[in-house]
């Protein structure tokens, strides 16, 4: 039988370890969480067998707003080849989200993670962050932040590579 001191030490060590493990992010090479299993507001597009870019954004995030025109152009260019962009807003305020979408009318699908359950699971390192997922649902690249042409050039190259991969 363990002494109370040993038991206390064990409990403390487990709590310490769990606090470290709880901060794990989704890693490249792992399956990306299924969007449909989270209570997202808005209709999700059919993404089976498609290359998907999941972008986490918010109306209060300036680089996120700056990315919208470029992402719209990307969706228009590559949508017909099997590419789908899903922008997940982490806005808690529905009013700000609706107002923003009415103003900018993006060419890609947007949904709202008002309860922040998906973003809490994925644990994005910065706002915005985009996750590139291949046709099999595996995370292949992560882009933290948005740096204009630099980000778009990298993203476009990676997306085309994934579109051209044999399924």
């Amino acid at each position: 039988m363990w002494s109370p001191t040993k038991k206390t030490s064990l409990v403390a060590a487990i709590l310490l370890a769990s606090s470290v493990l709880a901060s794990a992010e989704v890693k490249v090479g792992q399956p990306f969480p299924a969007l449909a299993s989270f209570s997202l507001e808005g209709a999700l597009p059919e993404s089976a067998g498609r290359v998907v870019l999941v972008d986490f954004w918010a109306t209060w995030c300036a680089p996120c707003r700056a990315s919208f025109p470029a992402y719209s152009a990307l969706q228009r260019e590559l949508g017909g080849r099997g590419f789908t962009l899903v922008a997940v807003s982490v806005d808690k305020q529905k009013g700000a989200y609706d107002e923003f979408l009415a103003k900018f009318a993006p060419a890609f699908t947007t949904v709202r993670d008002g309860k922040q359950s998906l973003v809490g699971e994925v644990r994005v390192p910065a706002m915005p962050t985009s996750y590139l997922i291949d046709r099999h649902g595996v995370l292949r690249a992560v882009h933290s932040g948005f740096y204009g042409d630099k980000t778009m050039k990298e993203l476009r190259t990676q997306i085309i590579e994934l579109l051209e991969e044999k399924s």
Partner: protein, 73 residues
């Protein structure tokens, strides 16, 4: 105090210290990103503070970085 007891106490103290700190996650910074959180949101007040600072210290500027607390990118 016996060493195992001391270790247990140290571990508990570490836990208590860790639980006292929290990180505002990137997706939780809506309030910090609000315009009201900007230290330079009132140009008149900023000008007055600069003037007072200059009068007292004979120097100006270097009062911090611009922008609010979004921490984006």
């Amino acid at each position: 105090m016996k060493p195992p007891k001391l270790i247990a106490l140290l571990l508990l103290a570490t836990l208590a210290l860790l639980s006292g700190c929290t990180t505002v996650q990137p997706w939780e910074r809506a309030t910090l990103a609000d315009y009201k959180m900007r230290p330079d949101r009132d140009p008149l007040l900023t000008a007055m503070m600069e003037h007072i600072y200059f009068s007292r210290e004979a120097s100006s500027g270097g009062r911090g970085v611009g922008g609010s607390g979004c921490g984006c990118n």
